[in-house]
């Protein structure tokens, strides 16, 4: 067990190292001179050279990387050219919004998908299953931005129940906060419902054909009890793996949703930074998102070892 986790940690560290290199190079190797961004096109060559020196951009790439990664470990991702706020501060303000969106939307997705999958798997290929399975196809095919647009159209524009845009931080109370993330979260949840439903249903159908389920039935246990206590856990591996792997696409979806609903999360900030060529912000946020993504996936993998002892031995 300890060996397995140790191996995975080493893997994680190696991947994080490569991610940091990619994030570093992403900004440094691409054409475009940051001094033009900061000083504008009309400044002197001397001022440019001076600025390059100040930013440490005149050194060799490995030396720059070394300085940069050292700062990163001290939580210093640089300072935004635009707002003069530290990048770590900006990330600290923006990241919780993405997390909240992802957590709320995933909770919604599980609440809808799990019961649907359980009922559908109970009688595969019958009416309920067919309807649910076909409609998840439809859900799978709708991109987040389309769901979001239609939701805004129906709920916020036609009937004024929810505010269409804007974000209320948690400090303004749970009610207003939830109200401002509800529509964005629903937009994100729609695709996840389809994915989770399909993963759980397929595994559930297989599990329900096992001997221990027949045994449980023979003991006279009620169907809900069998579904929840006997069948759900051994059927939930693909579901969990799926949830872990969705994280990447959820960030992507969250970006789109943040723009439409004007939530100042990572996506919103990063687009603003991109438009302003505020390259340290872009780099810092890209690094944080990518690292968060691999760390969450690592967490899911470790979770597996607790759920299923067989993974450890493999």
């Amino acid at each position: 067990m300890a060996r397995y986790i140790g191996g995975r940690v080493i893997q994680l560290v190696v991947i994080c190292f490569f991610i940091s290199i990619v994030a570093f190079l992403l900004v440094h190797l691409l054409p475009g001179d940051p001094t033009y961004t900061i000083l504008g096109p009309n400044d002197t060559a001397q001022a440019r050279a001076e600025l390059l020196r100040q930013l440490g951009l005149d050194k060799s790439l490995p030396a720059q990387y070394w300085t940069w990664i050292g700062n990163v470990f001290h939580g210093n991702l640089g300072i935004s050219f635009l707002t003069h706020q530290t990048v770590s501060n900006a990330v600290g303000e923006a990241f919780p919004i993405d997390l909240e969106l992802i957590i709320v939307s995933q909770a919604m997705a599980f609440i809808v998908a799990i019961p649907l999958a359980l009922v559908a798997a109970l009688r595969p290929n019958r009416l309920f299953d067919r309807i649910a399975t076909t409609s998840t196809y439809a859900l799978l095919a709708v991109p987040t931005f389309v769901v979001a647009v239609i939701l805004v159209l129906v709920v916020a524009v036609k009937i004024h129940i929810f505010p269409a845009t804007g974000y209320n931080p948690l400090s303004q109370g749970i009610g207003p906060n939830l109200k401002s993330v509800l529509l964005p979260s629903i937009s994100l949840a729609v695709g996840s419902v389809a994915i989770y439903y399909r993963l759980l249903r397929a595994d559930m159908i297989a599990t329900l054909q096992e001997d221990f389920i027949t045994m449980a039935r023979a003991k006279g246990l009620s169907t809900p009890y069998i579904l929840l206590r006997h069948a759900l856990r051994p059927s939930s591996f693909a579901l969990l793996a799926g949830a872990g792997l969705s994280i990447g696409s959820l960030f992507t979806g969250a970006f789109v949703v943040e723009i439409l609903f004007q939530l100042p999360g990572i996506g919103f900030q990063i687009i603003q930074a991109i438009n302003a060529r505020d390259y340290l912000v872009v780099q810092g946020m890209a690094l944080v998102v990518a690292i968060a993504y691999v760390v969450i996936n690592f967490g899911v993998d470790i979770l597996f070892t607790f759920l299923d002892p067989r993974v450890r031995r493999a």
Binding site: V146, I150, V152, F255, V311
Partner: protein, 308 residues
């Protein structure tokens, strides 16, 4: 596959999932009936996609209006005889904007995935068959690329690599898509690499090149194609998201995403919801068809369901 080695099985499932973004696991019942052919669903979806592609290819010779012509006498009108789907806030014909806009989606979708398929496929075959350090290096590389959410990476690259052109977008999408295709093709190749016919070919002295191309490739193609179709769907969604964020092809060139984007700007959603609605419906139907095609192909050719 209830009990047989959850670990190995799950790894495959996870890889499946990665690329399929939640396509169903083929259940045994389905696989048996699927032996008989691809079925009506596949061909209907295929016909639908084919018609859409044809419309996009033939857009310039079809009797439709200029997508960028602004008719100020007909602004924001609903569907009518002159404008089948109505016009937008600048009086541009929505039908022709959508058809021209779909060109961008199709070029990026098919070209980038095609490219990713060739590159990812070649490396996948090689890594799956030869194993060793080549496999380890390529595998680690693909994981690193996959660790970046594609939209994020593309956004960042775009920011520093102006101006955004169709070619650059296609290249970036290909790079983003290649690792997933690599992983699927590698996994499929692995499942064939030590089968009897491959061992037999090797025993008879066939070269590595011959084994890769003549023995393994034909067996890998079905899985790769079904997977690539999902890739096309994903690429179309990504391009749509980019365009929706205003970061794909520059205006006034129409693309499905930027039509939707224009449809939600300036209070257009309440003034004329059709601008956002039509392209949304178009994307939806296109993606349903692509997903269905991929699903049918998969259950028809799925090796695991065939109990190999």
């Amino acid at each position: 596959m209830p009990d047989a080695g959850i670990a190995a099985d799950d790894v495959e499932r996870i890889e499946d999932f990665e690329s399929l973004q939640g396509m169903t696991q083929p259940e045994p019942v389905r696989a048996v009936e699927a032996r008989s052919g691809l079925g009506v669903v596949f061909w209907v979806s295929f016909a639908w996609v084919a018609v859409m592609v044809l419309l996009a290819v033939l857009a310039s010779v079809l009797p439709i209006k200029n997508p960028n012509f602004q008719d100020y006498t007909a602004v924001n009108i609903g569907p009518s005889v002159h404008h089948l789907l109505g016009t937008d806030e600048l009086g541009r014909d929505l039908l022709s904007r959508i058809i021209y806009g779909s060109r961008v989606s199709f070029v990026i979708g098919f070209a980038s995935v095609g490219l990713a398929l060739v590159v990812g496929g070649a490396f996948g075959l090689l890594a799956g068959y030869t194993g060793g350090w080549i496999d380890s290096v390529l595998n680690a590389g693909s994981l690193v690329v996959l660790a970046f959410p594609a939209l994020l990476a593309i956004l960042v690259i775009e920011a520093f690599w102006k101006p955004t052109t169709l070619l650059k977008l296609t290249l970036m999408f290909a790079v983003a898509g290649a690792p997933s295709l690599f992983r699927v093709i590698r996994a499929t190749t692995l499942s064939f690499a030590n089968r009897e016919f491959v061992v037999a070919a090797r025993t008879m002295g066939a070269t590595t090149w011959r084994i890769l191309v003549r023995e393994l490739l034909p067996n890998v193609v079905p899985a790769a194609v079904s997977f690539a179709l999902i890739g096309v769907a994903v690429a179309i969604i990504l391009e749509g998201s980019l365009a929706f964020l205003g970061l794909s092809i520059t205006l006034p060139t129409a693309s499905l995403g930027n039509i939707i984007n224009e449809g939600v700007q300036n209070n257009n959603l309440s003034l004329n919801p059709f601008i956002a609605l039509w392209p949304s419906i178009y994307i939806f139907l296109l993606l349903v068809a692509l997903n269905l095609m991929a699903d049918r192909l998969r259950s028809r050719f799925d090796v695991r369901a065939g109990n190999l």
